[in-house]
Symmetry: D2
Subunit: 335 residues, 4 copies
């Protein structure tokens, strides 16, 4: 399943070392001004940077719109987005062809499909997010037209907060050939009340599925999240104020699965980059025990790379919920 959404539907494709990656955005409203310049900045933010702490692979990752635009606006037809792979060096990965890397999808891809594109992780590569992010940028553009803003940031790394302290943790881990996890928070402001459905189409469930669906994410919480499990009802209920506001936001903007008009706040737990230089026990394709120590292009902390991905995914959820709500606004009175 490579399609996401009900009305604003995104289908992605592409592998780390194939000719190209991308997405088709279907269900985009017509007459929205849209150009590659609306999409490129979010892609640029997910690119590996420079310096010792980040992945060394350098790709321009320029997006190209192949369809759905006429004279600068969307036409209602599907918007196809493509990013070509230019810096692919598949030869780098020959050593991994017959090895299952711990913490990666190598083992499960092989179990599921009986075949595996081992080059850079194939479809399970972090480059897969290119399609999501490109499509998410379209969603974020639409949301901005309605005054909805989405922003993510890294809250902590290896249990530590603050920019310098986090950098220090990452550097220390890298020095040991190790990696660290982190927590990414994503917040949407300006979300109107009434998005989401009560039972299976809950907004919080959609957000949880969307964020947990990002590679390396192992937990998702909304509002008070896990802290709510340790709290009292008298602490966790948000007082309702006259005029449509709330005295606090333990709910994280969602009550009964439906947005309540407060900021939507979600956090994801990002596991440490599984690719590390320290030796690890695993097996090869013939089920023989081996030790692996992976050198190559990787980040010691993937959390920062997921910031634009989290924004993209929350954007996709919100625009889909917004369109769904629109469908019912005219009933029963008609227009």
């Amino acid at each position: 399943m490579n399609t996401f959404g009900h009305l604003f539907r995104v289908t992605t494709f592409g592998e780390s070392h194939g000719p190209a990656l991308g997405a088709i955005v279907d269900g985009c409203p017509a007459r929205v001004p849209l150009a590659e310049d609306d999409i490129q900045p979010l892609l640029d933010r997910r690119r590996p940077g420079t310096g010792p702490l980040v992945s060394a692979r350098q790709e321009g990752d320029r997006v190209r719109i192949l369809s759905g635009i006429f004279e600068g606006v969307t036409t209602g037809a599907p918007v196809a987005l493509i990013v070509e792979n230019r810096n692919a060096r598949p030869g780098d990965y020959d050593a991994l062809r017959e090895v299952y890397r711990p913490g990666h999808a190598d083992y499960t891809f092989q179990a599921k499909y009986g075949v595996r594109d081992h080059r850079g992780g194939g479809r399970s590569s972090g480059r897969e997010t290119l399609g999501r992010v490109a499509a998410g940028a379209v969603a974020l553009k639409l949301l901005s037209l309605r005054g909805i803003g989405v922003a993510a940031r890294v809250l902590s790394v290896h249990g530590v907060s603050g920019e310098e302290a986090m950098a220090e943790e990452i550097r220390a881990a890298a020095d040991r050939g190790d990696s660290v996890g982190g927590i990414v928070e994503v917040v949407a402001t300006g979300v109107p009340a009434g998005l989401g459905d009560p039972v299976f189409g809950r907004l919080d469930a959609a957000i949880a599925g969307a964020l947990m669906g990002i590679g390396a994410v192992k937990g998702v919480e909304i509002g008070a999240g896990f802290a709510a499990a340790d709290g009292l009802g008298s602490e966790m209920n948000d007082p309702i104020l006259p005029g449509g506001g709330f005295g606090s936001n333990h709910a994280g903007g969602v009550l009964g699965g439906i947005s309540n008009g407060a900021p939507v706040v979600a956090r994801c737990a990002v596991k440490p980059t599984p690719t590390i230089a320290r030796p690890q026990a695993t097996v090869d394709a013939r089920d023989r025990p081996i030790e692996i120590a992976v050198a190559g292009r990787h980040d010691p902390c993937i959390a920062f790379r997921l910031v634009p991905v989290a924004e993209a995914m929350l954007g996709l959820v919100l625009v889909d919920a917004l369109l769904l709500r629109e469908a019912y606004r005219g009933f029963p009175e008609g227009r």
Copy 2:
């Protein structure tokens, strides 16, 4: 959206004080022995019990199968399940008609629909889970035929573990007119490797969406979950052992969105029951500030009630993923 699943599809209906609640299970394999006795036990486990710590509403909650069964086995036709409401006392709720209870869906339902069945929470009542649990019992029956077992339990309440300590926390909160949250863990054993898809149909994403879609759940984690964010790669990667096993299970049975054959382990953070006897600030339907202190039928800790619901939802996710995998097992060789 009141339908869940792609191949094994469950559509639920019903409100707290309407004539009946239930579900249609569509996509159930044929020739599976199925009777009401397969479903009733799970429903019984979600019923309020007796004693001072639990909800006072007493319903028999007897399930009836209306279709899809012939001479004791499923026929492949949709299985309709119905539970009649018998102990409905809508008059109890007249006082709440014009009030938005903090922590409940009253406010958001009104914002979304412009109308609200205030009786017992209507569609947002905990009784809504009757349909999910009945359908989930069918899923769990199917899974058991494949050797897959699903079991949930309450790990902690108000930050405290152990049966007696948890009971004490609940009693103390109840005595103060307050309520407590808790953590529910659900584990599936016997899950074969290969369930779930890499990108948008990830098994972990489906589980997160399914569990976050249960009312009162504010967080979901898989395997190490939020602890992974504070850990190192060298700690969190699970060594792969010869013979298809793993040296640990920080992954919680899912790698790259696909099951790896290890037990699938998920936890939900359940917020404290929002209905409490202590006074809270809110507004009425005319946006006037009021204070509310709710007496009535409610549990001081909803986590225990969610145990069978969590099993049901994980069961629905797994049987859907299992059927989806089956679809591809015969290709390309044919049979």
Copy 3:
């Protein structure tokens, strides 16, 4: 797959001789006045009548709404509709348990499911349409609020038109222990331009699928239909008039898959009732050749029974397309 529609989703259940049949309508707008009296008339029109030309089974077929209504209006929650089977006489069908009736689904159900509820055709009975018609009545109610009307009628029977001539054909066939087919036309007026999508969500494709999905329908055409295949472009193009109208309606209200504002006109070819008294060659469950001559409750011409079903299905397609269009009306300008 027992669910129909994307936004206005209908899931049906039930067999000819089970306890009940019905449907869940999900995605119904809130605040629409709805009662059983809005639904019963369409159900009454699909009931077998009296007299020698029609089926002898007498069922009251009273619909009951189980959910989704509060104080006379819809709440946005799923509307469950149920009709109990009262006049089931399963014993009548014992003789058919081990026989595959020609022209019926007996053979294919057995091939597909390996089990078959032979009583009255089980899920493949004409009674299955009860759920569709009940749900369709809700759709037609919604459409009427927007000034859209849907009406079907039998155009011809056994190639003959006119009420008396058709009755004569049916009587003559019945006298010979035979049955006749017919053509049902269904027309929707007041349909606004802009419903349907260009490629896979075409309105004409949805109508064709919906009508061909009615049991016994073997062909569907829109507007000029098959006559268009024998015509010239200069004859078949509809001139476009100032003010938004057309000089003719060979298109049947759909151009490029999208409604053009003209009446939507579709016709279905209904095959003769497969159950006939004349002897036919078939096999039994052990693959032995036998002859079968079926007595029992059946109509010699099923076309008249399909009139309300065709209205229901067209209603479902249109309300779904209408809601989908609404989703996009506010973009990009916002509201």
Copy 4:
């Protein structure tokens, strides 16, 4: 909605004069040998030919696979297919910018979207079928691995059969600046019994939707089709023979919505090409009446161009139904 299918899902994109057209095939089984050479022949068959009777636009229409293939076999990841537009001459269409061509989607696109890519019909161009045909070729490859063959042909043109007679009709129409319709029949052989579902997922309904979803198709029939409406039950029922066969195939291979093992036979009515040189009445974008006579690249009979499209669409329906059936084959016994 630009996605087709439930398990084997095809999402298409592209316009007549944009940079490229194509499709993403999601849900393709892994380990299937697949190369561009498997796809190109079907694309070549849908290309305009040479000579006076066919469209003059010359495009190489070379397909390129962008993802989902590794070392010559599918990997289970989405297969992205792209065809670049090379011979686009948008300037040819300047005269049509402000005109609604009768029989085309110009009017309805404008009504629906409020904007329209007028160049060559934009998304409503016949070139849109490139994506479907490319994806359909993948489906046909899969079907061939199971011994299922799909073949379409033109049965008649302007009511006339036989190759020479049809060519004569087309030439005569072209000479008069007119166009003709035709009937395309598509047949699938080797289809196993048991594909399709009884109610809303009927195989015949899926076929009808798929074929009616091809531009210019105004009618679809299965087996005896409209002739069944004029027939008797004793004529139309197919005798069932020992050994799993039928004495005739009025059913067209589908009984009760499920394949019966006989060849699946469907026919589409194709309207005459709406673009004709003879003058027609229409309006311009300011709703002023004008006369239009279109010169340019077009076929006087579109039916021949739809032959590979019909094969593609039937292929997509069948492979989807086949995968769906596979999902249930292992239950309940397990494997």
